[in-house]
């Protein structure tokens, strides 16, 4: 593959394009509502109307407003048809030739769409994720070619450092710094891993990116591999995402066929291959050391860091692990430059962030906004607030590792630091809106049950501590707990946070801590008065009776 050939593919793809491209969302949400049937019927309707030469029907990735799928739209400014059924097809086609269709529509000029800023999702809902030519037509793989021919690996890292990109998986570690560490780590063999184990319940950004634009992940990985000196990549994807997996498999096959993956890519000495690894349902595998154990075919238990994966990762070789959304930013940054990217967002959080809006909110779906956008803009202006006349009580971010931000803080700008100050985290991008019918102690219990079930069992604080915390929360909800039990819960939160081996345990208490911080009254209302039992239990060492012998 050469520059010329890449351009030829782009040109012939553009030349073959018909006057009207009717896009049908073919992401998992719409697919579950018969998007496939809709597309088929639309194709038939085009033929029936004799418009084959003018109109083509294309399956595209996520068109973002998931709550009213299946979605169908011609060009981005034309009507966006919602809740489309196969029966609507003739009317949609008829409307293309002028006239108004009496069909359900959403306004493409509504804030849900206009307030978005697309970098990661730029191609989502626009290109056909199953055809590499469709990606090349929007300058896909041009960034890789540019990096390989115009930049040294060092230059590429510098671009990423200067862009200010931070990891989108949750912790927000500077991506360029991570790349630099792997590049500097000695070793002939290096690996790169794309973490597509999107485990946070309520998060589906990565699924959408993989389903909508799989090639941008491959391109991001290839650029990263070139920069750090890796020749083998793995994508670790959740088994729960069969559509994403099949689109990735297909994309890898196509890229290999065109020589964009393999040996001597773009006639350079750079070799790179990608293998897909399918997870098997373990939240802890989102933690990088556990993920590596799983890629090696083992039980997904984490190990203490250091050593960090950058020094000793897969098979003890230096390994770069980046999240899906992080990698999706790479090609655009290389294409448009570091300055372009760092102009978007806030001082410390650059670029955009994709959020999956869900829960008690009018417009559930996928949004991408510049970092620093106020939470209120996201949930009220764009999301349309809570449905059924209810009011928003809190917004949960960061999944089981995050926290609940109460409504009075809705004007907080969404960036890494601000969310951390509020006791939550940016997390991977799940944003669950809760209305006034949600009981916060129940939410805390829900997440604690999740962490208890997902604990790998290796370290004691997480394995046994989550069980006790869950038990105490159940006790509180059953109105059987006393203030002393609440104190025990808080003490355990502190202990599990500070002593657990990996991120799962270290963040497991967060939902409790955060709901206690803002909704303490909801806990206290459920407590019984303190009974006149034995004095508060502390360990002051006065009694020498071993617990062990008096345990039972």
């Amino acid at each position: 593959m050469t520059l010329l050939e890449l351009q030829q593919i782009k040109e012939s793809e553009l030349a073959a394009r018909k006057k009207i491209v009717l896009r049908c969302c073919m992401a998992a949400g719409c697919m579950s509502l018969d998007a496939k049937g809709v597309k088929k019927r639309l194709e038939k309707a085009v033929e029936e109307a004799g418009l084959q030469d003018e109109v083509e029907v294309v399956g595209v990735g996520c068109m973002k407003l998931c709550c009213v799928g299946p979605l169908v739209q011609a060009d981005p400014d034309s009507p966006l048809y919602t809740n489309v059924t196969a029966e609507n097809a003739p009317a949609i086609i008829a409307a293309l030739k002028g006239g108004k269709a009496k069909l359900e529509q959403a306004d493409p000029q509504s804030p849900f769409f206009t307030q978005q800023k697309s970098i990661v999702l730029a191609n989502s809902g626009r290109i056909d994720p199953e055809r590499i030519e469709s990606y090349i037509a929007v300058d896909g793989y041009a960034a890789l070619l540019h990096a390989l021919t115009e930049h040294t690996p060092k230059d590429v890292i510098e671009v990423i450092v200067n862009s200010g990109l931070r990891g989108r998986g949750g912790a927000g570690f500077p991506t360029g710094l991570k790349w630099g560490t792997v590049a500097k780590s000695p070793g002939a063999k290096k690996y790169i891993v794309c973490n597509a184990d999107e485990g946070d319940p309520g998060a589906f950004m990565d699924r959408s990116v993989l389903e909508s634009d799989p090639h941008c992940i491959l391109e991001g990985m290839a650029i990263a591999a070139y920069a750090v000196g890796a020749d083998q990549g793995f994508i670790y994807a959740r088994a729960e995402y069969p559509l994403a997996i099949s689109r990735l498999q297909n994309a890898i096959k196509q890229a290999k066929r065109l020589g964009i993956l393999g040996s001597g890519i773009f006639d350079s000495p750079f070799n790179f291959n990608i293998d897909l690894r399918i997870g098997a349902g373990a939240f802890v595998c989102g933690e990088e050391t556990a993920l590596m154990a799983s890629v090696e075919g083992k039980r997904g238990t984490p190990h203490p860091r250091p050593p960090f994966p950058a020094e000793k990762g897969l098979w003890d070789c230096p390994t770069l692990i980046n999240n899906v959304e992080t990698l999706a930013n790479i090609a655009p940054i290389v294409r448009h430059g570091a300055a372009w990217f760092s102009n978007i967002g806030t001082e410390k959080s650059k670029g955009t962030k994709v959020f999956a809006l869900a829960g008690k909110i009018q417009n559930t779906g996928l949004i991408e906004v510049p970092m620093g956008t106020p939470l209120r803009t996201i949930v009220e202006t764009m999301g349309g607030g809570a449905p059924d006349g209810r009011t928003i009580k809190a917004v949960q971010t960061g999944g089981p590792s995050g926290g609940c931000i109460p409504a009075q803080y809705l004007d907080t700008p969404v960036d890494y630091e601000s969310l951390t100050t509020l006791g939550s985290i940016m997390g991977s991008g799940g944003m669950i809106v809760m209305d006034d019918s949600t009981h916060m102690v129940d939410v805390a219990r829900f997440f604690m049950e999740f962490c208890m079930d997902e604990s790998c069992g290796k370290c004691i604080p997480c394995r046994a501590g989550t069980v006790q915390m869950h038990h105490l929360l159940e006790k509180i909800l059953a109105r059987k707990a006393t203030p002393r039990d609440l104190a025990k819960l808080e003490e355990l939160c502190d202990m599990v946070k500070n002593t657990s081996l990996c991120g799962l345990g270290q963040t497991a208490p967060n939902p409790v801590v955060s709901t206690l911080r803002f909704f303490r009254n909801e806990y206290e209302e459920l407590l019984l008065p303190e009974t006149n039992g034995p004095p508060p239990a502390t360990h002051n060492g006065s009694s020498k009776t071993p617990a062990a012998t008096t345990a039972i």
Partner: protein, 238 residues
């Protein structure tokens, strides 16, 4: 070999650069409590009892897996650490059924000894009282899952010293359990060599010699380090 100088609990000490904080502390006569660590077996940092504070580190670090560094200032015994250790032990006691009075390892148990040492005189959490079984199918040894603390010392001894790979952990979270082969009865295991290394490694009464009754189960845990030194360093120091 490079030597690093560091302080542990205010005491200035020097240690080989490959040493862990735990090894350096031991050399200097500072005792850090451990449960999943056993000399001779590689460390996994799972029990979290050996956590220490290091100046400049935001997180607590496990002494058994953290290597010494020049100028490190380590605290092993703060009030906070002692508190966490007691809580860890309480969690363990509440997790399964540890009844010392009737246990084969009474008086020879690392968990019991640690509870004494750390002043853990009662358990404030509700006991879980799980129903775990006892595998008495092996002609020489037995396994009582009720007394298991999942330290995986037996698994590591089986894989890395004996090399048989008979034992492993199955399940996850609080449903984790030590198994033999394909969750077979120990007595019918096709891979177990009956070498007894797992029994030597066990810190509690979970693994025991058949026929032992309360307080009878003693074991020589230093044998494992002896074998490893003999094999790897060609040193037969008894």
């Amino acid at each position: 070999m490079a030597v690093k100088t560091l302080t542990i609990d205010g005491k200035t000490i020097s240690a080989e650069e490959s040493a862990t904080i735990l090894q350096a502390a031991e050399e200097a006569g500072v005792i850090i409590p451990t449960l999943c660590h056993l000399d001779g077996i590689y460390d996994v940092g799972a029990c979290r009892l050996c956590l220490v504070e290091i100046v400049g580190y935001t997180k607590l670090m496990s002494a058994c897996t953290t290597r010494v560094r020049e100028g490190m200032e380590v605290t092993t015994n703060s009030e906070r650490l002692r508190n966490y250790r007691r809580m860890t032990l309480e969690l363990l006691f509440a997790e399964r059924n540890h009844i010392c009075a009737v246990c084969v390892a009474n008086g020879h148990c690392e968990l019991q000894a640690l509870a004494y040492e750390q002043g853990m005189d009662h358990v404030r959490y509700d006991y879980c009282y799980p129903k775990w079984e006892v595998d008495a199918s092996h002609r020489l040894f037995g396994m009582d899952h009720n007394r298991c603390i999942l330290c995986t010392r037996c698994v590591r001894a089986c894989w890395h010293i004996e090399g048989a790979g008979t034992k492993n952990v199955s399940g996850r979270g609080n449903q984790s359990r030590i198994i033999c082969d394909l969750n077979d009865n120990w007595g019918v295991s096709k891979t177990c060599t009956s070498c007894g290394k797992c029994v030597m490694a066990c810190p509690t009464g979970a693994l025991f010699h058949q026929g032992s009754t309360a307080a009878e189960m003693q074991r020589d845990r230093s044998k494992l380090e002896f074998i490893v030194n003999a094999r790897e360093k060609k040193q037969w120091s008894v």
